[in-house]
């Protein structure tokens, strides 16, 4: 039975890391321009298909693919920011939110048009599929990769925001866009870079998603997008460690909900997720690690 609990905790950790990969990019964009970007999940989808395309097209090694997918996701993010969000800078928050929904639907339908809605299988090198048995628990190399990538990227992002010039510019932009501009910060460039980094991370998350589940389709971004949103809200939108924390809470919560309650409740895991979200927002409207934010909308 102890082995059972250990396995479930490990499952929660892996699922949480998967959500964290998506959530930290999401929360980064929100933190800077207060934009709830629903198209974030669809960049995950694009990342997954990009990986599949690169794997099929030739003998590119997996680490190189990670870099290419990061760059591809980043370019996609820059494109979206340039085309859809920059023209409406200064518009009320809700405008950006609705625009992001529109982009999301556009990307999903483009995906269906170009790739058909049929789910397809994902290729992953054998060494990522290796199964390790550690006492009573087992996990795969890709799971390990997901956990490590999530933690490393989070640390990298926190350091970036705290200690670099770009990070300082980002924090200033987040605090007050207009004052930052008066201080000589190139806010267009700062916001563009935030989008690039956040979307690049989403691309990598898509790659991990495909590797983990082995099956991808043009609508796959919806669920991770939604879960990332929930994770970010639980953790306090805009806070990178908060998003990470929220994602882990969500991952553990989902798995333990299914694992510890009688099986008949297994199919209600998403209901549990959203109930938790409502409860946390009732008690802590700014999330677990969210500071007091002033809403300008």
């Amino acid at each position: 039975m102890d082995g059972y609990i250990a396995q479930q905790l490990l499952n929660g950790l892996i699922l949480g890391s998967m959500y964290a990969l998506v959530a930290i990019g999401f929360t980064m964009i929100y933190g800077i321009i207060r934009l709830i970007n629903f198209a974030h999940g669809d960049i995950v989808m694009i990342g997954a298909f990009m990986t599949l395309g690169l794997v099929i097209s030739g003998k590119i090694s997996f680490p190189v693919i990670i870099i290419l997918v990061f760059i591809g996701g980043a370019l996609m993010g820059i494109l979206i920011e340039r085309v859809a969000f920059r023209p409406m800078r200064g518009a009320p928050q809700v405008t950006g939110f609705i625009t992001s929904l529109a982009i999301s639907i556009l990307l999903q339908n483009l995906g269906i048009l170009l790739l058909t809605a049929q789910p397809r299988n994902f290729f992953c090198p054998d060494y990522l599929q290796t199964i390790y048995h550690l006492g009573p628990v087992s996990l795969r190399a890709i799971d390990l990769g997901i956990v490590v990538t999530a933690v490393v990227l989070m640390i990298f992002l926190v350091l970036l925001v705290r200690f670099t010039r770009l990070g300082m510019a980002m924090r200033a932009t987040a605090e007050n866009l207009n004052v930052a501009r008066l201080m000589g910060i190139n806010i267009n460039r700062t916001i563009m870079l935030a989008f690039a980094i956040g979307s690049g991370l989403a691309g990598v998350a898509g790659m991990m998603w495909g590797g983990k589940y082995g099956q991808i389709d043009p609508l796959l971004g919806f669920v991770p997008g939604l879960k990332a949103f929930v994770a970010a809200v639980i953790g306090g939108v805009g806070s990178i460690p908060g998003a990470m924390l929220g994602a882990y809470l969500l991952g553990f919560g989902e798995v333990l909900f299914v694992g510890l309650l009688p099986p008949i409740y297994s199919s209600y895991r998403d209901a549990f997720v959203f109930t938790t979200l409502i409860m946390i927002l009732l008690v802590l409207p700014n999330g677990l690690l969210g500071g007091k934010t002033e809403d300008k909308a």
Binding site: M1, A117, Q118, V223, V255, P263
Partner: protein, 384 residues
């Protein structure tokens, strides 16, 4: 400028020609409702391809009722029940003489009653709930066997051939089809003397089954097989994740597993010891099957994806057969002709509506997956 005028006339001329031609022999319209996007797409898209292929072949050999062409109007209902009802209304407003569609009961129940209300026959190509004709009414016709038959077939196979005594049952709790399949499987398996040691549940769209798998691993007494009642979207995912967790017990299921995803998602190394009951056609030497596979490959450049392609083909075949017999597309006569179908030689087996339940009595194929390859292991025939 001259060119524009010329162009306008050319277009007008074509429109006139087209109208005249279509007045000469008005096409017979069939409304084909399918989920071409979303979770059901890997079942439904091949069905529509099969349906369109049948119509094309009929039209190439001169159409029906003295040269009238069959027109299959495909409507995508997006694996969404609201879109399904809207799609049914759209089809009806276009003046279809019959409806067809779906590989799943839930979506038939969202559309067929609207056809029933207008007295227009609806033939489901792949929905297998044995009480569908009872629920909807006398305009409801089934191309496939019922879930009871396929569940009994795989339960018999699991008990007699795989010698399974203890099983775990996983059910997708979001669909009528998957719930019915599990119900009939449990019923038969217990009748045979086997034991269901654990039941677990999930929802369509779930991606992560790690929590259920951990429980499956811990189940006691140790199960010999797990019955997974799922649709294709979850079929490959569950097989992959169960095998990756190091579990090697047999995985059994129904026709929801009849998809290439079962072998491609886990890959040939892990796609082992999977057995499912499905519609007879795979590896079958009957002339209807051979001709169908050849025509499908010629039309779409690939072999039929799964049994739902020939089922769509058979659904249009059933309707065309009834139109020929009735000699008209009038709804009452057409419904009667459909109900009187006897010994229609479909690709997925012979179809006769002799049972009082309205469910055709068809043989069930048991297919096994070994190293990613599908093999027909046996054919199960219902007793009554």
């Amino acid at each position: 400028m001259k060119r524009t005028i010329f162009g306008t006339f050319a277009v007008l001329f074509m429109v006139v020609c087209f109208t005249v031609a279509s007045m000469a022999a008005e096409p017979i319209k069939l409304g084909a409702l399918y989920n071409l996007t979303g979770g059901m797409s890997s079942i439904d898209a091949p069905s529509l391809n099969g349906a369109k292929l049948q119509a094309k072949l009929i039209n190439e050999s001169g159409g029906l009722l003295g040269g009238r062409m069959l027109e299959v109007i495909g409507i995508d209902t997006k694996t969404d029940q609201k879109a399904t009802a809207t799609g049914a209304k759209k089809a009806l407003s276009k003046g279809v003489v019959a409806g067809l569609g779906y590989g799943d009961t839930t979506f038939v129940m969202a559309s067929a009653p609207l056809f029933q209300a207008k007295g227009i026959p609806f033939v489901t190509s792949g929905a297998t709930h044995p009480e569908l004709p009872k629920w909807v009414g006398n305009c409801m016709f089934m191309t496939p066997f019922g879930d009871d038959d396929q569940s009994f077939a795989i339960a018999d196979f699991a008990y007699n051939k795989l010698k399974a005594r203890n099983v775990v049952v996983w059910t997708d709790n979001s669909m009528d089809f998957t719930k019915a399949l599990s119900k009939f499987f449990k019923q038969r398996f217990k009748e045979l003397g086997g034991k269901v040691v654990l039941e677990d549940f999930f929802m369509m769209g779930d991606k992560d089954f790690s929590a259920q798998i951990a429980r499956l691993k811990a189940a006691s007494p140790k199960p010999d097989a797990v019955f997974i009642s799922a649709i294709p979207n979850e079929a490959g995912l569950t097989v992959k994740q169960i095998r990756e967790a190091g579990l090697s017990l047999a995985i059994v299921s129904g026709d929801g597993f009849d998809t290439e995803l079962v072998s491609t998602v886990p890959g040939p190394k892990l796609a082992n010891d999977v057995y499912f009951a499905t519609h007879t056609y795979r590896e079958d030497p009957r002339p209807e099957v051979v001709a169908f596979v050849k025509a499908y490959e010629k039309e779409y450049g690939r072999p039929p994806e799964n049994a739902f392609a020939p089922l769509g083909y058979d659904a249009v075949g059933l309707i065309a057969n009834a139109i020929k017999k009735a000699g008209t597309t009038e709804k009452v006569a057409l419904r009667k002709a459909l109900a009187a179908t006897m010994g229609y030689k479909g690709v997925t087996g012979e179809i006769s509506y002799t049972r009082p339940s309205g469910v055709p009595m068809k043989a069930v194929a048991i297919v096994g997956v070994k190293n990613g390859k599908y093999d027909l292991l046996e054919t199960w025939v219902p007793e009554k």
